[in-house]
Symmetry: C2
Subunit: 227 residues, 2 copies
């Protein structure tokens, strides 16, 4: 493949490809003439992976480089590789909140995960995220302990068991990595959108018909609200 | 309640309370003396709701005002009220993408939702979000049609039926509104965090023991990667 064909096949512009070559994210093609080189299917796949990491995972180029180095280091267990990419793609979890309520929520989340029997790194950023939701609920005046997550956790457990099983069909480390990033993030987005749509559906079909909630959907009050 | 007590009970600073009073988001207390007023439990609840809408729903003060007006207009059906608050809290879904692939993805999503039997407004922003994930998958070279969402949709359907049922226990319009915003957004966050933790767990317990993925978790390569 010439560079223009590589660009078409990968959906990455020629300028960006040249930038990745300069930055060492992509190995050089085989030189065929001065200022000309030919590229392989491997280059197409690597570019697609870089796109997944940057566009979907929103990883910085520095992190992409670390992940690609880890990918090429066959001694690194694949679940460590996934951890690197997925932890980075979760974005910053602010850790400046060392208030008593946050520390106590984190301890509760840790105990909750032990209770679920989940093997999760102590460094997993989602531990803090979950603790934050607990703190948020309490600050809003809702008495809540980590057990309120139980139903969601059981559902997440079944879903993740299936999702991880799907990825296990991938044959190379690069494929596993791409599937995990796309699966976790893109299907995470899709799940959130579907949950909101399903909430709207169930709230519509259940709508109470009391005096404060007329069932007519063409209620003039709606138009009056300018909505 | 004096204003200082109202501030303690609601977790909202006195300055912010004064600002809400000036902006008409909060009805004035009963004047007891010059520059002094007394507030009720109703004020505490209204402030808690405003906090939920601004901090969790991230609604602008203008939108909060619209939602509160709608809340107080008893003729407005409660599911319309929820639509206003939840659509606004989803944030902007860019709608400048009128490419053929986006339009075709939107049509597929619309057909998919009909197939699910879901009653969802044509204006629901999540329709576009779901279509975007389909476009993203295709741009990454994954042949995908809306049917790949089927499993997630069935799961979302069961989850939402339960969640909406929980909210139906709320007794006032304000409670329904607060429960819906908190439930949809805070528990949405929690679900995403739990899914990531469960994915890590299942990927850890399933980790292949092939040559490229040694099972030793203290692999020196990890330290060499600086992670």
């Amino acid at each position: 493949l010439r560079i223009a064909e590589l660009s078409r096949a990968s959906g990455v512009s020629i300028d960006t490809i040249k930038y990745y070559l300069r930055e060492g994210l992509l190995t050089p093609g085989i030189a065929t003439a001065q200022n000309q080189a030919t590229y392989s299917e491997g280059h197409v796949r690597r570019l697609r992976l870089i796109r997944a990491l940057t566009e979907i995972g929103r990883l910085s180029l520095k992190t992409v480089r670390d992940v690609l180095n880890a990918l090429d280091d066959e001694r690194l267990p694949v679940h460590r590789l996934l951890g690197m990419a997925l932890y980075a793609s979760e974005g910053e979890v602010p850790d400046d909140d060392a208030s008593d309520e946050m520390l106590s929520a984190q301890a509760e989340v840790d105990r909750f995960l032990v209770g679920m029997g989940w093997q999760v790194s102590a460094k997993a950023p989602s531990r803090r995220r979950l603790a934050q939701t607990l703190v948020t609920l309490r600050r809003l005046g809702r008495p809540a302990d980590a057990q309120i997550f139980r139903r969601y956790a059981r559902l997440a457990d079944r879903l993740a068991a299936w999702e991880v099983g799907e990825i296990s069909g991938a044959t190379s480390r690069a494929e596993v990595l791409e599937d995990a990033v796309v699966g976790s993030l893109v299907f995470g987005e899709a799940l959130m959108a579907l949950r909101r749509l399903a909430q709207e559906h169930h709230s519509t079909i259940r709508r109470p018909r009391g005096p404060s909630a007329p069932a007519r959907s063409d209620d003039p009050a709606i138009r009056r609200q300018g909505k």
